[in-house]
Subunit: 361 residues, 2 copies
C-alpha cells in the first residue's frame, strides 16, 4: 500500500470502452493512483467520456493514442482496446516507458503475448492484466483453503464457469464477436476467468492436456460464442471450464480436494461490492453420518475488487518508479499461462476437440 | 399414494448391502409398503441383518436368494446386489412374478439392461432403479424451474458432479472397485447420478455426442476410480459431469439457461433430511446493474427422499396388483438412457477419450 508521502501513480486511460468506466472509478478509489489523462481516437469522444465519468478538470484529454504515449505526466496506461490492437499499443506504450494495465485477453495468442512482454522487459515497465477477481481479499482466503493440506488436502477436480447472456445487438455488433477485433470471442473474454480459476487452484501449474468439449457454438464468422473444455494435470488432477455469451450469468467454482470441498457462486464479480462469500465442506466419507451443511465464509473488502487491482498495480509501479525495483514477474507469468491455455483450447476447438499437449510450451 | 383400504406392498430385501439399511428404513417409512422378507446367501447373515435393522418378527428370513423368489408373501424385491449379479437375479425375480426395485447401475451394460427389461415386460412386472434424488419433492421444483421458459429459458449448459472420498479399505476391498462385481466403478456408482441430472435437465433427451475427459483414474484392475465427461445435444446444449471415489463430497448441479441460473449443492443426498434447498438467479445481462444475489428456495419433505422413492415404486406396483394396470414405462426408460450414457462414457474412456456418437442407440 502507498505510504502517505508517495505521490499517486498517474494513470492514463487509453480507449473509452464500457469497462473503462468501471476501471476509471477503480483508479479513483485506489489510494495510490490517480487518473491523469484519457485518450480516444477523437478529442470529442475523449471529452465526452471524461465528462460522463466525472473526471476532474486537471485530467488531460488526448485526441489520439499517440498523444497520450508522449504525455510526460502519465506513469502508466490502462489499455481496454480490442484485443487485436493490444500487440501494437502495448508495445508502443512499453517503448514510451509507460507501465501497462491491459484488459484480458492480453493478446490474440501467446506469440503476440511474448512480443508484448519482451517489450515490457526491455523497457523495464510493469505489465498486469485486468483480471479483477484475483485481487479481491476473498481470493486470498480461497487460496488459504485450497492450499491447506488438512482442510482441503490435494486438489482433485475444479469446475469453473463464466457465462453471460448478451443481447441481439451485442451478438451483431460488439467487438467481442468480431474476428478482426476480439477474435477469441467468449473464450478470451469470459473463458479467461474460468481458466485462471483452474490455474489458480493448481498453483499455476500448466495442465498437461487440454481438450475442448463437443458442442462449441461459433458465430458465422467463426468466433466462439460458447465452449467448454477439460484440462488434466499429473496425479489425476482435472478441471472443466465453461464460458458462454448465450447463457444467463453463471460464475461458479466448485473444487474438490481429498479432504475438503469449496464452492464459490460469484467468483468473477461478487454479488455484493463490499463483501464476498464462499462455502467449504470438510472431510466426509462413505461411512460418516453423511455430510453436514457447508460453512459459509464472508470476506469484507474496503474498496471494490477492481480498485484492489489498481492498488496492486500502482504499488508495483511505485516500487519501480520510487525505489528502483524491477518489474514484478508474477502477474505476467500467470497471464502467459492463461493465454497458453486459451490458445490450446482454441486449437482444440479448431481441430474437432483433439487433445492438445502443453508439454514444453 | 395408497388409499386407506389398500394393503401395503410387501417388499423383500434381496441382499444385505450397506445401502439396504437405508432402504429398509425407507420401506418402513413409506405409507404404502412394508418389509415382508429378507434374504442373504446364509440364514445367519440374513438374521443378523434383520436384527440389526430392527425388523419385526413377522419378517421372513431366507437363507438363499432362490428361497425369497419363491415366497408367495412377497410382491416385490429390492435388489442391492453387486451390479454383475443384477442380470441373473433381476431376470429370475421377474420370472417369479416379483416387481423389482434395483440398485444403480442397473446393469453392466445396456445389453444386459435390455435383457432385464425384456423379462420384466414379459412377466408384467414393474422395474425401477434406486435413484433416490429423483423422488425428492425438491426435484419436482427443480423441474418446474428448468422447464419454465420465462424464468429459465432454454438450457445451455449443466454441470453435475458427485464425488465421495472413500478410505483405503474401500479402495482395496469394496465390491465397487472389483471388475467382476461392480466393474463400472465410480462411473456406475456415482456418475450414474450426475448423468441422470444431465439427462433430467435435458428432458431425458439423449445427447448426440459423449466424450470422456482426459485424466480418468483407474485402479490396477482397470476399474474407474474417477472420471469426467462432456455431453452435447442439438442447439448447443452441453453438459459436463464428474465422479470420483478420490475426492471429498461434492454433489453440485449448476445449470444455465438463456434466462436463468440454477444451483444445487446437495442434489444427490440433501444436507438435511426434512428439507432441501436450491438457488436461482433470473435474467441478468451485460448492461444490467449486474446480478442480484441468488434467491434461495427451500422444499420440505414429509418423508426422506428414499421413502418417497419406495412410495412411488409401491404405488406403481399397487396399480398393477390391485387395479390391473400395466407396468409404468417412464422409470425403465430413463434408466436405460442413463445406462446408455454410462456405456458411452466407459467406451470413450477405453478409447482414449474418443467422441462416441449416441445416434441410433
Amino acid at each position: 500500500m502507498a505510504t502517505v508521502t508517495d505521490t499517486p501513480i498517474r494513470i492514463g486511460v487509453m480507449g473509452c470502452a464500457v469497462i473503462a468506466r468501471t476501471v476509471s472509478r477503480a483508479i479513483d478509489l485506489a489510494p495510490n493512483a490517480t487518473i491523469a489523462a484519457v485518450a480516444s481516437r477523437s478529442l470529442e469522444k475523449a471529452k465526452t467520456f471524461a465528462t460522463a465519468n466525472g473526471y476532474q478538470q486537471s485530467v488531460k484529454i488526448h485526441g489520439s493514442y499517440e498523444s497520450i504515449l508522449e504525455d510526460p505526466d502519465v506513469d502508466a496506461l490502462y489499455i481496454p482496446l480490442p484485443t487485436s490492437l493490444h500487440v501494437e499499443w502495448a508495445i508502443r506504450a512499453a517503448e514510451s516507458g509507460k507501465h501497462i494495465l491491459v484488459e484480458k485477453p492480453v493478446a490474440m495468442n501467446v506469440s503476440e503475448f511474448d512480443k508484448i512482454v519482451a517489450a515490457c522487459e526491455k523497457n523495464g515497465v510493469q505489465i498486469m492484466d485486468g483480471t479483477m477477481w484475483a485481487h479481491h481479499p476473498r481470493t486470498a482466503k480461497l487460496k488459504e483453503f485450497l492450499f491447506d493440506s488438512d482442510r482441503f488436502g490435494q486438489l482433485k477436480n475444479i469446475n469453473s464457469c463464466f457465462s453471460l447472456a448478451v443481447d441481439e445487438d451485442f451478438l451483431k455488433n460488439n467487438i467481442r464477436v468480431k474476428p478482426n477485433l476480439d477474435g477469441l470471442g467468449a473464450l478470451g473474454d469470459l473463458g479467461w476467468y474460468a481458466i485462471r480459476a483452474a490455474l489458480f487452484a493448481n498453483n499455476f501449474e500448466l495442465p498437461k492436456i487440454v481438450a475442448a468439449s463437443p458442442g462449441t457454438v461459433l458465430n458465422e464468422s467463426g468466433v466462439i460464442l460458447s465452449c467448454g473444455a477439460s484440462l488434466s494435470w499429473e496425479d489425476g488432477r482435472t478441471a472443466s471450464i465453461y464460458c458462454s455469451f448465450l447463457a444467463n450469468v453463471g460464475m461458479e467454482i466448485t473444487a474438490v480436494g481429498t479432504n475438503g470441498t469449496l464452492c464459490v457462486q460469484d467468483f468473477v464479480i461478487p454479488f455484493e461490492e463490499t463483501q464476498a462469500t464462499f462455502t467449504t465442506c470438510l472431510k466426509s466419507g462413505f461411512n460418516d453420518p453423511w455430510v453436514s451443511r457447508p460453512t459459509e465464509h464472508s470476506v469484507k473488502t474496503e474498496i471494490p475488487q477492481e480498485a484492489c487491482m489498481v492498488r496492486e498495480f500502482a504499488r508495483l509501479v511505485g516500487e519501480i518508479k520510487n525505489k528502483g525495483a524491477k518489474p514484478d514477474g508474477f502477474w505476467p507469468n500467470i497471464s502467459r499461462k492463461t493465454q497458453l491455455v486459451v490458445d490450446a483450447i482454441k486449437e482444440s476447438v479448431d481441430k474437432n476437440c483433439q487433445q492438445i499437449s502443453l508439454s514444453g510450451r
